[in-house]
Symmetry: C2
Amino acid sequence: MKAIKIPEKTVTRLSIYLRCLEELENAGVVRISSKQLAEQFGLNSAQVRKDLAYFGQFGVRGLGYYISALRHNLERILGLKQNWEVALVGLGNLGSALIAYKGFQEKGFKISAVFDRDQAKVGRRVEGIQVMGTSRIVPVVRKRKIKIGMLAVPAIGAQAVLDLLVEAGVIAVLNFVPAQLTVPDSVKLQNVDLSVLLKTLSYHIARTGRPSSRKP
Amino acid sequence: MKAIKIPEKTVTRLSIYLRCLEELENAGVVRISSKQLAEQFGLNSAQVRKDLAYFGQFGVRGLGYYISALRHNLERILGLKQNWEVALVGLGNLGSALIAYKGFQEKGFKISAVFDRDQAKVGRRVEGIQVMGTSRIVPVVRKRKIKIGMLAVPAIGAQAVLDLLVEAGVIAVLNFVPAQLTVPDSVKLQNVDLSVLLKTLSYHIARTGRPSSRKP
DNA sequence: TAGATTGTTAATCGATTAACAATC
DNA sequence: TAGATTGTTAATCGATTAACAATC
């Protein structure tokens, strides 16, 4: 079969294109060229065409891309034609915000199982979901065939919890824990480390922000 | 002067190295080689050395890097020797979680000003900080010389709020709004789009997760 | 000194972009 | 048909990695 490697950045851009296409379709626009689409994001039009070309021929020469058709194709490619169940582990500040956030559900991602180590939280109902102890991760996630995990626990013990999710059959994990965690190659671990992002910002300010350097 | 372009990825890795060095120092380790450090993250040792070499010569041939010295150097390079004040705009689910999250403060980032458009929230006290209306962004951020913004408002109107932060003199913004926002070149906009990350996970599962494809 | 590891150059790899034939 | 824009190849650019002289 085809062994063409598709860059991760391409996949990320597809979902950004998709958001733009949704807006355009809602605005009643029918067609768009790669040039117009690229301008929305400060990208090169060849890059847009190449990103799409990894997956097929979706455009019409001389005309561009029909928005509705392209949108459906991108949704299919990204696996968004189905609703995904998500298992959240950790119900601290961040976990609570994630479960309260309505944005995911609109996009087809539903947090449908919540786990926490703290016995005081177990049994509570949050957004209509009963909180379970971490010992229930393996049976429940396996039984419900949940494929996506969200990890929002303290760094201590995070690897053990992640191992449970993997054992339960999760294939992809959105990880908010600022620690070096490992998963088998077959599992995708997507790190969201806000501290690392803030430090990058700090670097940017330290380099470009001030005419002369100043120490506090 | 030197016009060497330092890759963004290098800066991101520096802060990841730093976290590792902190752990090692706490564990009482004195020295580490680029090879050992690289193995922690599945990276190449040449990459570690090159990342560091952008900023100076921090190692000792034959021995490796002294952890304490390297750590101080990285903190200096990343601008972490000072505490940064952060202005948060938007006090919904995510904004509330961000302000309640204690992790930032430990790393030297303190949310010290909070703004929301909703008059019902203005005047309330959250984590010891009095919430202000968005009309106060420009005077307050400018007066306090706050350089980092966090944007956690709804997509509608987000650009206008971002413009206010920029007008107020912010140089870097951590953006949680899933929309295509623009800033001047001098300002760094770091997007954190959880929906995009989830879609990348969805793609991964759709491609690798199932032996045969199945539509719901 | 012998062994180890850095700092740095040169080679490789992969992603972006320019260019253009195909074609609507 | 003439003009526009795709899909794709080839050129360019930038980041990663191998290799090794310098040196602790």
